[in-house]
Every structure is written in structure tokens, then in C-alpha cells.
Homo-oligomer: 433 residues x 2
């Protein structure tokens, strides 16, 4: 069960382009002094030169065709160059120049390169792909119809068709259903409900009718959707395959259903065996497809032709253990107030949240600030005493100042855990001068 990647065949990414002539002829250029001689230059691929010799000929339309005397261009004959071409220069004396006298150049080569074939048209037929694919529903059954390509009349009724179809997210090679048809209509069987399907058709000539050849290209795809079934939330398409080691079962479930419940695969190796559960379950999630595929591999230790496994996919109960003493939510302290003492200090008092057990202690955090100067004067205090009071010393406060504050609590006993409570209501006090 691992990632499979289909490498695209690169061949298809290259297109047919018009052939534009040989490199040697494209490279040929000739000039002349319009007096006594002319010079031609051209290049030849070194590997081609080793396989085939080509020779430049000139025809001036007056005399016969003449071979041009060519030598390697001394200006470009660098033996160490990585250029794959040989550069030739050809110089020839010319008696007459004139506007009517045109020179036609061509290459001749020293070997006959040829291959031949006799083709019987009716034995080498590749029809054009079928057209006008349509899917029609009739009382819950789906039928595909199509027509032979225009211009196939000469074949009479000698065409037969291969129809193949699959759900849109499946693989043509592995998952598609195939059938052969002599007519241009077929019944699409074994469809699953609530799925988008694609179908395509190709044609070939029937040998029995005196033809032979290859399949046409595939037609363009036609796509349709089957209606939702009556029980779309049931797991479906349960299939199992045995590879000699494992019996691997896969099934499909509606994607949203797996947000609420989970499915397990249960099996009995024999009717008398205890039911066991397969683990781990893997899943494949596909974007835009409302189903997920789940899969599990049952190890098979005892192989016998009598082996008949009973497998069942059904919901199983997920359980979550939550320990109450580690998920405590402390309520914030109440009745929080600050009052001056006889010693001219300030005393913070509060009423703490009470637990079922007094031995569970709390710690606190206090934030206080000068009135209307929250950002500039904010102070934070940590108090590890479970019970009030807490005394503000003289250094902690300025005289003649209005203060505001808030307080929160957290469990402070081993074995018990909480997060910070919400903050208490804000409280305020004023210091003397």
C-alpha cells in the first residue's frame, strides 16, 4: 500500500510538424564575382558523413550537371572543435554570367535508400473514431449510443466496437469495464449509484467480414451521472483480493459520513472462528469525489482451497478517555477587593472557587494598572498562596493614585491539572497620599 505515480508517456507531448528539408541544403549558399568564378559553402553532419557521402552538383541549364569541387573550409577546419558539422567550400570557374543563366544546386549520395510495401486497403483499416456518443436512461438502466464516423459508409456493417467505461476518478487501465458490440448501442451494466461515469468507444473492422486492421483512436469521452441510491450512506463496493500473503479488502464510504463515524473491517476465517478486526485501515481521499476508499489487509496464514472468509464492514465505536482531574476548569475568583490596612499597606482579598476536595490548592495571577494608563503601567503578580490575603508592599504602589485590577486562578496541586480560569471582574482602589 504505497504511493503509485503514473509517469506520463513523454512521446505524446511531441507533435507532428511539417518536414522542412535537410540541414545541408538549408546551409548551402553560393556567391560569385560576376566575372570568372563562384564559391559555394555548406555543412554536413559528421555522423551522417560517416554513413553516407553526399556530393554537391551544379546545373546551369546550358551544360550538363557538373560536380562541384569541394574541400573542407580551411577557415572552419578546427580539428578540436565540438561542432558536429563539417564545413565545405567549393570554388569553380565560370565562363559566362548572365541574368538568364540560373544555377540549380543539388546533392547526390552514394547509396540507394529505399523501402517498399504493397498495401491492400481492406486489410489495413484503421477506422475513424466513433462519434455522437450519448447516454440515455430508461427505467433505471443506462444505454450508450453512438454513430460510426462520417465517411465510414464504405465499410457497410463491417465495424465492431469496443466500449469501455468507469467512474471519473478511476483508472482506464485498471478499473474500466470493457465490452464488445456489433451494434451502435449497448447496455451499461454494473453501474454504482451516485457516481459520475465516463465512457468511450473505439471501432475496428471485423475479420469475419473480410477486413483486417487495427482499432481506431478512442472517441471523445461522454460523461453522465447515476442517481443517488436509496441508502447512499451504506458502505459499498466491498471487494477482496488474495495475493498469497494477505487478503486485501477495499470499500467505499461517503466522505461526510466518515466525519461522524468510523468503519472497521471484521472477518472470520471459518464459520467457527471468532470474529477478528483487521488493522490498520488505510484510506485514499480524492478531491471533488464524495467518496473515500478505505482498505485493510488481512494476513492469511493457512492457505487452503476450502478457505472461505466472511468479511463485514461496519461502523465501530470510537472511545475517548477524558480524565476529569486533568481537565479541570477553575472558575475565576469572586468578591475581589483591595483595602488599606492599619499599617498603611494594601490588602488583596478574594473568594476562591471551591472544589469537591479542600486539599486541591490554587495559585493566582493578578494584573493591576493605574486608572486610564493600562498599557503604560500594567504590572503582573503571581500569587502561590491558596488563600487570601495578599499584601501590596509600599514599593508596589504610588501614593494618591487610582488603581484597577483583575485576577485569575489555576489548580496548584500535584496530580490535578487545569488551564487558567477566565479573568475575574475588574476591581479598583485608591492609595492615600
Amino acid at each position: 500500500l504505497s504511493l503509485t505515480i503514473s509517469i506520463c508517456n513523454q512521446w505524446y507531448f511531441f507533435s507532428w510538424i511539417p518536414f522542412s528539408g535537410s540541414v545541408s541544403m538549408k546551409s548551402l549558399s553560393c556567391d560569385n564575382d560576376y566575372s570568372s568564378h563562384m564559391t559555394c559553402k555548406w555543412k554536413e553532419h559528421k555522423e551522417a558523413h560517416d554513413l553516407l557521402r553526399i556530393t554537391l552538383y551544379q546545373n546551369d541549364g546550358i551544360q550538363n550537371e557538373n560536380k562541384m569541387p569541394c574541400v573542407r573550409d580551411p577557415e572552419r577546419a578546427l580539428p578540436e572543435t565540438s561542432d558536429p558539422y563539417i564545413f565545405w567550400v567549393c570554388r569553380k570557374n565560370i565562363e559566362y554570367f548572365g541574368i538568364g543563366i540560373n544555377h540549380i544546386y543539388s546533392f547526390k549520395h552514394n547509396k540507394t535508400l529505399e523501402t517498399q510495401l504493397n498495401v491492400n486497403l481492406f486489410q489495413n483499416v484503421q477506422p475513424l473514431p466513433p462519434q455522437n456518443l450519448e447516454v440515455q436512461e430508461s427505467s433505471g438502466d443506462f444505454f450508450l449510443t453512438w454513430t460510426a464516423a462520417e465517411g465510414s459508409q464504405w465499410l457497410g456493417n463491417a465495424l465492431e466496437y469496443e466500449v469501455t467505461y468507469k467512474r471519473d476518478w478511476e483508472s482506464w487501465e485498471k478499473d474500466a469495464l470493457r465490452l464488445l458490440s456489433n451494434t451502435t448501442r449497448c447496455h451499461l451494466s454494473h453501474l454504482m449509484m451516485g457516481s459520475r461515469y465516463v465512457a468511450r468507444v473505439r471501432a475496428r473492422v471485423q475479420q469475419a467480414k473480410g477486413f483486417s486492421g487495427t482499432f481506431s483512436e478512442w472517441s471523445t469521452d461522454v460523461s453522465w451521472e447515476t442517481p443517488e441510491g436509496q441508502e447512499p450512506i451504506q458502505p459499498r463496493n466491498l471487494r477482496c483480493l488474495f495475493n498469497g500473503v494477505n487478503l486485501t479488502c477495499s470499500w467505499e464510504v461517503k466522505k461526510v459520513i466518515t466525519t461522524s463515524v468510523i468503519f472497521g473491517l471484521f472477518f472470520r476465517a471459518t464459520p467457527a472462528s471468532a470474529e477478528e478486526e483487521c488493522s490498520p485501515v488505510y484510506e485514499k481521499v480524492l478531491p471533488h469525489i464524495p467518496y473515500v476508499v478505505q482498505s485493510c489487509a488481512i494476513p492469511v496464514s493457512n492457505i487452503s482451497s476450502q478457505s472461505r472468509y466472511h468479511v463485514s464492514v461496519r461502523t465501530k465505536t470510537e472511545e475517548k478517555l477524558i480524565e476529569a482531574h486533568k481537565n479541570i476548569k477553575v472558575l475565576p475568583p469572586t468578591n475581589v477587593s483591595v483595602k488599606a490596612t492599619e499599617d498603611h499597606e494594601y490588602e488583596l482579598r478574594w473568594k476562591k472557587h471551591t472544589f469537591q476536595y479542600n486539599f486541591i490548592k490554587q495559585k493566582y495571577q493578578v494584573q493591576y494598572w493605574k486608572h486610564n494608563q493600562y498599557n503604560e503601567t500594567l504590572q503582573t503578580l503571581n500569587i502561590s498562596n491558596d488563600e487570601p490575603p495578599f499584601i501590596f508592599t509600599l514599593q508596589m504602589l504610588s501614593p494618591s493614585t487610582k488603581y484597577r485590577g483583575k485576577m485569575r486562578a489555576m489548580v496548584n496541586s500535584a496530580d490535578y491539572q487545569s488551564s487558567w480560569s477566565e479573568w475575574s471582574e475588574e476591581f479598583s482602589w485608591e492609595t492615600a497620599n
Copy 2:
């Protein structure tokens, strides 16, 4: 003949991942005040809620399982939200808290979701893919051998194999050769010389031996190269297919050969017909492959079961017409000199290149500069007089100065064309004070 692109099936790009539990259970969190009550929160997909109702249960290990009373979370019950989830909050009074008391939560749902299957192992076999593919050559023939996957002994000799092979740049679907084999060895026929091939094998159980099932996955590919043939430069693999409109022929040629010569497709519709040439020829060039595929479509107007085309691929002559009077290369002027005249002017004289005909005139370009001050003092003159002399007027030169210059020529008559000649040799003169 157009660009074909194979869209990769996206399905293969998604992998199997372990299933990690339902969203609802993952979202469940519960806290308590460790005094009198507890609160749970969880979420449920709206679409799942429409299909299936799930209910949260709590089990404290003392009492029986209890349904938690849940309501939509008033803080997150925004009716206009696009969030696909419903948020639930469940509050329950608790009599006793304690470290030994753990709460186990689970969801129950209101429908039975189940599917079942009886599986006969021997009727649902997908063997493991064959292994150890090897290609051996023996007196020019190639043989492929392989072994059944380890752990296939239980199948005895019930496996049969599908072997498929193709040249590395061809398509598995369209071009590969296929054969079935009952043994783990087969002869690779119809190989072309000088090509890299790939082969792969898959296995399935034979129905005749009491099994059934599906093909294994394909084995890993094995690759080999056939030796160069004796005539690697001949065109090869000429094939023609008739689609009712055209007889389309394709063939292969060694890529470097097409740098020197070009191939044409010639055909006769009947033995008595004149030979015709097919046009245009298209080609498909593939990187790293030493062959190009060329192709041409012969229109067929008269379809008859007697039609036997004779087609021949062979080199054809490329011709290039080069008009001498439009490709003149003028030789540069010679004997160029500047001399003072009796009128204290300076006179440029030269000997022009002579053509076969005097009526072909030339024009010239002169560059001159003060000695050792090329960049700062360069001047360019155009002279349209075919014949010397050219007079430098007093304004064009400074007194008591050493000058250097060079000159080039071009044809200047209608109907005749040249490019500029090379520059003449440099000349020099000195002006009086």
C-alpha cells in the same frame, strides 16, 4: 495529424494514508469544575447530520452509560455562517469527582451501516507481480525470463503470464506487442535493430486450474538494446493504415541521415498508374532517440476491395536555385590612393573590380580618420560615381594632418544584387598647411 496530449490520471497521485478517526471524535473536549458539573464540546458536519444522527454518551465506570444532553453552542450558532459544522455543547451535573473516576466518551448513531461479503480465496486471487526479469540473447534471438513472486508456491503451476514490450519511446497502450505465456520464458519476436526496448510481465491464475481472479500489478520494467542492423541508414518500419479517406503511411529514418538527404513517399494506386508523390511529409522528432518518424497521408478517392497500393519511401532530390546576378560578391577596390591636385584639393583614385559586363555599375563607401585618432575623427562618405576620381573639398580635411582611410564597393545597377565587398587595404595621405 495533430498534437495529442495524454492527461495523467490524477487518481494515482494520491496515496493511501492511515485512517485517523472521525472529525467529531477528534473535536470532542470536556472540562469540569471538579465540584458539581462538567461541559463537553464537539462538532458535527452538517451534511452528515442530515444523513445520520449521532449522540454523545458518557460512561464513568460506576453507573451505566449515560446520554449527554447536548444543545447547539449558542456562542457558535450563527445561522448565516459558511462553516460546514454544527457546534454542540453538553452540560451535565456530576455527583462525585475523584482520580479513580475516568470518563469514557463515545458516539452512538441511529442507523446500521454495514456491508458483508463471502470470499473464496482461490476465486479472488491477484498474484504478486513477477520478479527477476532478464533478457538474454542467443544467436540473434532475444528471450525474456522471469520468476513468479516469492510466496506463490501455493499456486503450483496455475499461473499464466501476459508479456508486453515496446521500444522505450513508444506508448504501452498503442504500440506495445503482447503475448500470453504459460511458462516463465518467452521469445521476443518482431524486434527492430538498433533500438532500446522495455518489457514487463504480469501474472494471473488460470481458470482451467480451478482458480479465478485478476491480473497482478505489472512487474518492474526490464530494458535492453538490440544491435545495430547491417543497414542502419535504410528507412524502416514502413506501415500504412486506411481510414476511409486517406491511406496514412509512416516510417522511421535515422535522425542524422535527414541532415543530409530527404525522403519522399511515392505511390501507385494500381500497377498501371503513374507513380505519384505524397505531400506534405510530417515528422516527429524525439529527444534522445536516434530515429525520427515521418508520415504522409495519401488521399484515396476510389475505394474498392481490389485496391492494392504500392508505396515506396526513398530519398528524393532537393534542389536550390541560386541566381548568380543576385548573389554577386564584389571584390574590394585596389590601388586606392589620395593625392593633392594643382587646385590644392585632394583627389581619391581607385581601381574597381571589373565584371563581365561594363554596364554593371558600382557604388562605394569610404571611411577616413586622422592618424591615431580613429574613434574621435572617423568620417564616412558615400560615393555613387562608378569611376574615380572623388574630390575631397577643403571643408572635408584639416591642414597639416596625416589621414588614413579604407574603401568598399557594392553593385549599383537595377536587376543585380550584391552585399558590400570586404574593405580595401588601408591607404594614407598628409595634407599641406
